[in-house]
């Protein structure tokens, strides 16, 4: 297949999908190697970038997606027909931060860390599809375990969970090494 046309198809595929499209998927459709597809995408990304366009191709949740240029945001916001989501509350962000780094985790464990009940932020996060239930923990009461979703990655523009900001050694170390020094 003509590479110029393959690039056009990739553009159409990324555009037409409502979810980020994986390079592997496009390779199958185009009957090309994933390497070639990735290279064509890079070319396409560059083209959009260099020409100061209003849209760009971003790698999100291990797939590719068209998004508007951030510089255009003040204008896009004025558009009537744009679905808007309210940003998350501080409480919801704290709950989400804990789930993101300590998943899978139970409600009681989250409450221990935040020091407050988290029912309402959990239901907000579930409703917005940023977290989901993932089975139950062994042990008394068999409490529900929560994990983050692909929409979580999309919402924060992350490619994988590894792109989460590092905070001290928390992300590496599930068990916190507390260094209690005597004063």
């Amino acid at each position: 297949m003509n590479l110029r046309f393959a690039t056009a198809v990739i553009e159409a595929l990324i555009f037409a999908s409502s979810e980020p499209v994986k390079s592997k998927e496009m390779a199958t459709i185009l009957e090309l190697t994933e390497e070639t597809v990735k290279e064509l995408i890079r070319g396409l990304q560059q083209e959009y970038q260099e020409n100061g366009r209003g849209i760009q191709i971003i790698e999100v949740a291990e797939g590719y997606q068209f998004l508007t240029n951030p510089e255009c945001a003040p204008y896009v916001e004025k558009l009537k027909k744009v679905p808007r989501q309210p940003s998350l509350s501080q409480a919801a962000l704290e709950t989400l931060a804990i789930i993101a780094y300590k998943q899978p985790i139970t409600r009681a464990e989250i409450e221990m860390l935040r020091g407050v009940r988290v029912d309402s932020s959990l239901s907000t996060l579930l409703e917005r599809g940023l977290i989901q239930e993932a089975g139950r923990k062994d042990g008394p009461g068999r409490p529900i375990l929560y994990v983050t979703t692909t929409d979580f990655l999309k919402y924060f523009g992350l490619n994988t969970l590894d792109d989460l900001p590092m905070v001290d050694d928390w992300s590496n170390n599930q068990q916190l090494a507390i260094n209690l020094t005597a004063d």
């Binding site: 998004l67 951030p70 962000l93 704290e94 005597a182």
Partner: protein, 248 residues
């Protein structure tokens, strides 16, 4: 506490007792590993007095922390048992503040991550995706499957489950709610004390089954102490706490 201070407190919203505690520690520029527990406990209680809670549950979260702080304070004030044999158990291992410090450090990390997520969110909200609903290619739109694996049965099931859950919820929300007014609890404590000269702290809560009832009773007690209507006495450490009429 001056006018200004009170005003400031009203403006501040804390995400919970740990958040308030961190705020106090940071404001006082105190070493988190060496919290002056007496001072911080007093400040925490002073804040608590002025805070407006949205719910009893929220108040209960803060009260629990107040109780924890007071417990640590008490343990710090008690003479430490003399360690006879010089084993490797370090002194800090016995520090009653240790668990609190660990929780505060963990919570500090949570806050830091939440702040990072918030800035990522702000960045990401500036990038608009192609709004769905309008398929680029109308013909292919028809072949797409908007419901996935869901069947009609799932839909009906979801609805009847919802209806079932509605009945108990209605009983909770729609029926006249059992009221736990602090005023009433205050009156009932005073009424009790009119009949007998003292009540034990323990007896005050026997028969109180629900969490809101217990919290209301506790708040009522605190209020009566503040108003100097009742006094509290504890004759020996860990002994029974006794509530009695305030005798001038």
């Amino acid at each position: 506490m001056g006018e200004q201070e009170t005003y400031q407190i009203r403006l501040e919203v804390f995400e919970g007792p740990l958040d308030l505690l961190l705020h106090l520690i940071e404001r006082a520029e105190i070493d988190i590993y060496n919290i002056p527990i007496v001072e911080i406990t007093d400040q925490f209680l002073a804040y608590l007095e002025n805070m407006q809670f949205f719910s009893l549950q929220e108040a209960a979260d803060f009260l629990l922390m107040a109780a924890t702080l007071m417990q640590i304070k008490a343990r710090m004030l008690l003479p430490r048992p003399v360690v006879e044999d010089t084993e490797l158990e370090g002194e800090e291992e016995n520090d009653p503040r240790q668990e609190l410090v660990e929780r505060l450090l963990e919570y500090k990390r949570v806050k830091a991550i939440a702040a990072e997520l918030q800035s990522k969110e702000a960045e990401s909200l500036k990038l608009f995706p192609r709004a769905g609903g309008y398929f680029a290619d109308q013909e292919t739109a028809a072949t797409s499957d908007p419901i996935g694996e869901v069947t009609l049965w799932d839909l009906v099931q979801a609805f009847s489950t919802l209806l079932e859950s509605l009945v108990p919820r209605l009983e909770l929300e729609g029926m006249p709610r059992e009221e736990f007014s602090i005023q009433e609890k205050m009156e009932s404590i005073l009424a009790c004390l009119a009949k007998q000269s003292q009540i034990s702290f323990h007896a005050l809560f026997t028969g109180q089954t629900s969490r809101p009832a217990i919290v209301a009773t506790f708040l009522a007690l605190l209020e009566l102490i503040r108003m100097r209507k009742v006094g509290v006495r504890q004759d020996r450490v860990f002994g029974e706490i006794v509530i009695q009429r305030w005798e001038a």
